[in-house]
Symmetry: C2
Subunit: 190 residues, 2 copies
Amino acid sequence: MKELKDRILKEGQALSKEVLSVDSFLNHQVDPVLVQKMGKEFARYFKDKHVTKVITVESSGIAPAIFTALELNVPVIFARKHKSLTLTTDLYTSDVYSYTKETFNTISVSSHYLNEWDRVLIIDDFLANGQAVKGMLNICSQAKAQPVGAGIVIEKSWQKGRSMLEEQGVDVYSLARIQELDEGKIEFLD
Amino acid sequence: MKELKDRILKEGQALSKEVLSVDSFLNHQVDPVLVQKMGKEFARYFKDKHVTKVITVESSGIAPAIFTALELNVPVIFARKHKSLTLTTDLYTSDVYSYTKETFNTISVSSHYLNEWDRVLIIDDFLANGQAVKGMLNICSQAKAQPVGAGIVIEKSWQKGRSMLEEQGVDVYSLARIQELDEGKIEFLD
């Protein structure tokens, strides 16, 4: 998605070989016009997959996921990483390891909103080692729901997330694929 | 907003005198069509306020805030309640007390995205004691930005949030105002 790649080059900040900040338009401040276009693009790519539900993880996945869901005219679920007052029972949970933060997060989805008839499109802001997507696949599996693909805003293509997911038969579609990152340097794969 | 009130009556679960679960369409699973209508309604109400930025707190405020921002054609900032890898310096912060959870959260906004020329519309999912809105007003004040109002999806009108904010001159617009809540009971103010 050219407009996204242009924006990453213009405003993204490569803080290290691992960390790219896109806080000016995606992860803290959000450009709703750009993120709506992301949603339309994910919906276009996955339009024949008969998606019944979009799933993401709070918080940065919510914006691209909700525009995708709007376009596909289905509900979106955001898996909780943090405690909620109302979400306490009947949960599917999965432990997600973050290599960059070196911590585990337990993500939770209510069993009321995901079931065996669902065809689930996973959306997330970043794909690196694929741990968050793996956690969502695990939750789909607990619900006996069918995952139909993963839509990713920014892929760190030198990391193993895509290959790990493709080996499991997941159709991964990333809007921007980064080949190399270093302080002040951002290079795309294509 | 009649459609929202109908949905609250149909799917909302009053868990106690204080806690209303709307996890089926707002706080966990999200109905993007309904939430887009909320955004359009906030944008209609605040259209003459020359809003330059929408602000909310992660995670449940993001969906209504992003549709409001899309409609007003301005960026949205979601204040962070949790640590972010990229958001570590140049922060405005404020401590927000949650009466229901009995915990303090520190919310953070980067000083890069809010400044003295900004006219800020605050959006949140619930208004009870007004502590989250107060925290966002405090952050606006640190940035010397001008708050122009607060758009709330669901107001617990028996609690003191609205009166506290109105005393400070804040224009509070709530899409649904609940007068009384109890196990199995939801009564609106109007």
